[in-house]
């Protein structure tokens, strides 16, 4: 896995909440036994017209202003539903390096912006998921709509998203689990790391059998 430190790229908007993994990559593309080739099928049913080939002009990511975008900003509960890692592969292979979604306050309870399994799968593939407040995300939506080609820098080491507005730079700090940050910054291979604990695993097995 490639280490993730800082990334600058064009911001694209997807104005929908509860985007499920069936939408991110529909089932017919899960039949592949490869780990690559999913980018062209990302958001397939929204992205293409009936013929499955012509871009749907109504779908936001098809807008020329978002060509080459690498930072996806969307609404709450992104990636819910199925555990398919193909969803993360499709987002990464399309070219996104980070997804930003809002956490929500529901009667004092903080509801995460991303579904659990999706977030875990993202970490394993070096795709950064960032949670901001609903107001901050709305702010990014407004700025992005106003400024064509708006770029953002995702600075993982400093834990901030910087929006490069024409008039000024605006930064939002974000929180991230230290273990996840460490994993992404160093681009680590989980299995190799865990195998360093082979003795502890064997001891556990001896204990519990």
């Amino acid at each position: 896995m490639q280490p993730f430190r800082s990334h600058r790229g064009i911001v694209a908007l997807l104005d929908r909440a509860n985007v499920d993994t069936d939408q991110i990559i529909p089932k017919q593309f899960l039949k592949s036994i490869a780990r690559t080739g999913f980018g062209k099928s990302l958001f397939f049913d929204w992205r293409y017209l009936e013929d499955g080939a012509s871009p749907n002009p109504e779908f936001s990511l098809n807008a020329p202003r978002y060509a080459g975008a690498s930072v996806l900003v969307t609404r709450n509960n992104f990636g819910c539903g199925s555990s398919r890692e193909h969803a993360v592969w499709a987002i990464s292979q399309y070219g996104f390096k980070a997804v930003i979604a809002p956490w929500e306050d529901r009667n004092g309870v903080r509801v995460p912006g991303f579904a659990d399994i999706f977030r875990n799968n993202s970490v394993k593939n070096g795709l950064l998921t960032i949670e901001l407040s609903a107001d901050e995300v709305q702010q990014i939506f407004d700025w992005t709509e106003r400024q064509v080609g708006l770029e953002a820098t995702i600075d993982l080491e400093e834990q901030r998203v910087v929006l490069h507005l024409d008039e000024a730079e605006e930064a939002f700090p974000f929180e991230i689990d230290p273990a996840v940050k460490d994993h992404l910054v160093r681009g680590l291979d989980d299995i190799a790391l865990t195998l360093e604990h082979a003795d502890a695993i064997a001891a556990y097995e001896a204990r519990s059998s």
Partner: protein, 476 residues
């Protein structure tokens, strides 16, 4: 301070604490299916790694398999390649496979309990979000992605952050006609599809204790639809009786079973255990539920109406408008006015023997309404065999339904069973996402009883009133 069921299981499975706050957790059982495993086995191969515990790893094929009589002849070449890849991988890595021709093949979450692979107090994973189903046995079971599948294959462990706990108590008893499907849909309607994110749910209370294992599995199955990766129900005599019943080759037997039961009795949450969140629902007030939108939180009582865009808690008016447009529904339409083209009885949520019995009870000596197609897909070959021994297949066939072989079928339409664009389906499955059952297909999630009655009437009916009018007494 006492411990919750979750904490007891978690603590038993800690291999070591990792820097950064994660835990290395031992995994007791790993279930594998054809869709989420090929890249994981390929990863092992590329790294020159082996499966650490093939004896704790069990595979079957369910998502891609056709469910008609010609099912052994998989015509879609890509599905076929995926099925063959699983056969090759299991042979190469020494993993037990319940393949297409096996009498115990079926949906992964249905065969686990049938085979006795699922028992209380374990950690279980599968590259499938509905692994939460197994939590009905008081076992910590959750879905993982393909990278994690590879990690478990190689190490028999997972690096995990400890989730929080959320206790959902159902007081009172269900009304006749209301089911465990309605209990879980009601909950999701209340807390939304994100409300359980980051938590392990524990379902308890009088209404839960009164449920059979089949019905408990339905609740735990849909924990993921509330955003929770896992749902738990404390093991009790109902659990032990289920495990002792029938041929469960991997469950403990004889003296080992008695010893295990003694241990399992210590698992339930202590009286003074503290949960991070709690919620109480009066089960006696739960009406049969019907989803009207494009996620399981978009749900209403059968006596209700399709809502106005601004009146759905937890959803923006824009999202509701998009959902209604996709579903082809207008606000204020009574749910019982919604006509149907298709009724799907199946999936890991509701295709166990009891589900089929309940649906057959309603379809017996009745006919499916004109223009409605009924597909009945047992969850496993074992369920199919049992249903045929009880004559349920004849009830479905006589009513005009199709009786199929085991598989995921129209739950996700990755196989030949799909809705056509615009078709409207009453489904006993778990997801009403756009396109889930076929591109442009419109899914309404309901219980098996509600689905069967909808098949007879060609539209949704309140099963409680319907049972009274038809002088029908619920089987369970």
């Amino acid at each position: 301070m006492g411990k919750t069921l979750f904490e007891k299981i978690w603590d038993r499975h800690v291999v070591t604490d990792l820097p950064g706050g994660d835990t290395l957790l031992y995994i007791d059982r790993h279930l594998v299916h054809e869709v989420t495993s090929p890249q994981a086995f390929e990863g092992l191969r590329l790294a020159g790694r082996t499966v650490r515990r093939p004896d704790l790893t069990f595979a079957t094929m369910d998502h891609n398999v056709p469910t008609d009589a010609d099912r052994l002849n998989v015509k879609d070449p890509i599905s076929k390649a995926q099925i063959e890849a699983l056969e090759r991988n299991c042979a190469e890595f020494g993993v037990t496979l319940y393949g297409l021709t096996d009498t115990r093949q079926g949906i992964v979450h249905i065969i686990g309990p049938e085979l006795g692979i699922t028992v209380p107090g374990l950690t279980m994973v599968c590259g499938d979000s509905h692994t939460s189903t197994h939590g009905a046995f008081g076992t910590l079971a959750f879905g993982i992605g393909t990278s994690e599948v590879e990690h478990v294959l190689a190490t028999q462990t997972l690096r995990q952050k400890k989730p929080r706990t959320f206790r959902v108590e159902y007081t009172g008893r269900l009304q006749p006609g209301a089911t465990s499907k309605d209990m879980i849909l009601k909950l999701i309607g209340l807390i939304s599809t994100a409300g359980g994110t980051g938590y392990v749910l524990e379902y308890c209370g009088e209404a839960v204790r009164a449920l059979s294992m089949e019905a408990r599995m339905t609740i735990c199955n849909m924990s993921i639809e509330a955003g929770a990766r896992a749902g738990l129900i404390a093991p009790d005599d109902t659990t032990f009786e289920f495990i002792a019943r029938e041929d469960r080759p991997f469950a403990p037997h004889g003296e080992a079973f008695e010893k295990a039961v003694a241990d399992w009795r210590g698992l339930p949450s202590d009286a003074d255990a503290v949960f991070d969140r709690t919620l109480t629902i009066d089960a006696s007030e739960i009406a049969p539920q019907v989803t009207w939108g494009t996620n399981p939180g978009m749900v209403v009582d059968v006596t209700g109406c399709v809502p106005e865009p601004h009146e759905v808690p937890g959803h923006s008016a824009g999202d509701v408008r998009m959902a209604l447009e996709y579903m082809g529904l207008k606000p204020r339409t009574p749910i019982t006015d919604i006509p149907l083209d298709t009724v799907f009885l199946g999936s890991c949520t509701n295709a166990r023997i009891e589900d089929l019995r309940n649906a057959a009870g309603i379809l017996k000596d009745r006919k499916v309404a004109n223009g409605v197609r009924l597909i009945v897909v047992p969850g496993s070959q074992q369920v199919r065999k049992q249903a045929e021994a009880e004559g349920l297949d004849r009830v479905f066939r006589d009513a005009g339904g199709e009786w199929r072989f085991a598989g995921c079928s129209m739950c996700l339409g990755m196989n030949p069973d799909q809705l056509k664009p615009g078709e409207r389906c009453a489904s006993t499955s778990n997801r009403n996402f756009e396109g889930r059952q076929g591109k442009g297909g419109r899914t309404h999630l309901v219980s098996p009883e509600m689905a069967a009655a909808a098949a007879v009437e060609g539209r949704f009916v309140d099963i409680r009133a319907w049972m009274k009018e038809n002088a029908y007494a619920a089987v369970s």
